[in-house]
């Protein structure tokens, strides 16, 4: 079980290779990777800045991972989350889950992403053609997160 907050670019594929090697015995491995959209609708390159809290960000992610472990039978899990400045097309987040049967891996990855989108302690500022703006979760994100209560 691994949680990493990183401020440098990473490759979700390389992380999946390493995770799958570690998660020996898993029948199924599910991964999710989220990337900065390379372009906004008007074609301008965008970038993101993610601010973290020095204690609460990691603590919240650990709580979410503990809840996932309690709810699903997982062989292993990993969360990698960027903070700081993130360029267009770069990965923001990577979640991987491994289990004997695929349903647990799918559900746990889905759950962890819903947590990260709505409850993880990050503040996200988008820089686009119309200047900078802070982004909060969408209504859909909150609705998705309600599914696990």
């Amino acid at each position: 079980m691994t949680i990493r907050l990183v401020d440098l670019s990473f490759d979700p594929g390389a992380e999946l290779s390493a995770f799958s090697t570690r998660a020996v015995g898993a029948g199924g491995v599910v991964s999710f990777s989220g990337h900065v959209r390379p372009q906004s609708t008007d074609g301008t390159v965008q970038s993101l800045m993610l601010q973290i809290h020095p204690v609460l960000t990691l603590a919240g992610m650990q709580t979410a991972e503990r809840e996932a472990i309690a709810r699903w039978s997982l062989i292993d899990s990993e969360i990698i989350h960027r903070h700081g400045d993130i360029g267009a097309s770069e990965a923001i987040v990577f979640v991987a889950t491994a289990s004997a049967h695929r349903r647990a891996a799918f559900e746990a990855a889905d759950f962890l992403m819903d947590y990260l989108k709505t409850k993880a302690v990050f503040w996200k500022k988008e820089a686009g053609p119309g200047g900078e703006r802070w982004i909060e979760p969408r209504e859909d994100d909150y609705a998705d997160a309600e599914r696990w209560i």
Binding site: G34, Q51, P54, K117, K119, W123, K124, E136
Partner: protein
């Protein structure tokens, strides 16, 4: 009483949002009073009062009025979300 405050996310963009040490006036002794006082004197214009803004004292989220102590670090946290 002397505490320290920190503003996160969009709250940090307000002109009056200055992280650091702060001497509290007499009568400002819990998080509810602190929130109301800072909103007024630092020109947050209600942004600090919004129910979506959570308060952490010493790295713990504290809901409702929470008594402050000398040296506390108080963080104002607008809605969060990563991924």
């Amino acid at each position: 009483m002397r505490i320290a405050v920190e503003y996160f996310g969009k709250l940090g963009d307000f002109a009056g949002a200055e992280d650091g040490a702060l001497d509290l006036p007499v009568g400002v002794s819990d998080t509810a009073a602190l929130r109301a006082w800072l909103d007024e004197v630092r020109g947050f214009n209600g942004a600090l009062l919004h129910c979506s803004v959570q308060i952490a004292v010493g790295d713990e989220i504290r809901r409702g009025p929470f008594a402050l102590s000398e040296g506390d670090i108080v963080a104002f946290l607008p809605p969060v979300g990563g991924g």
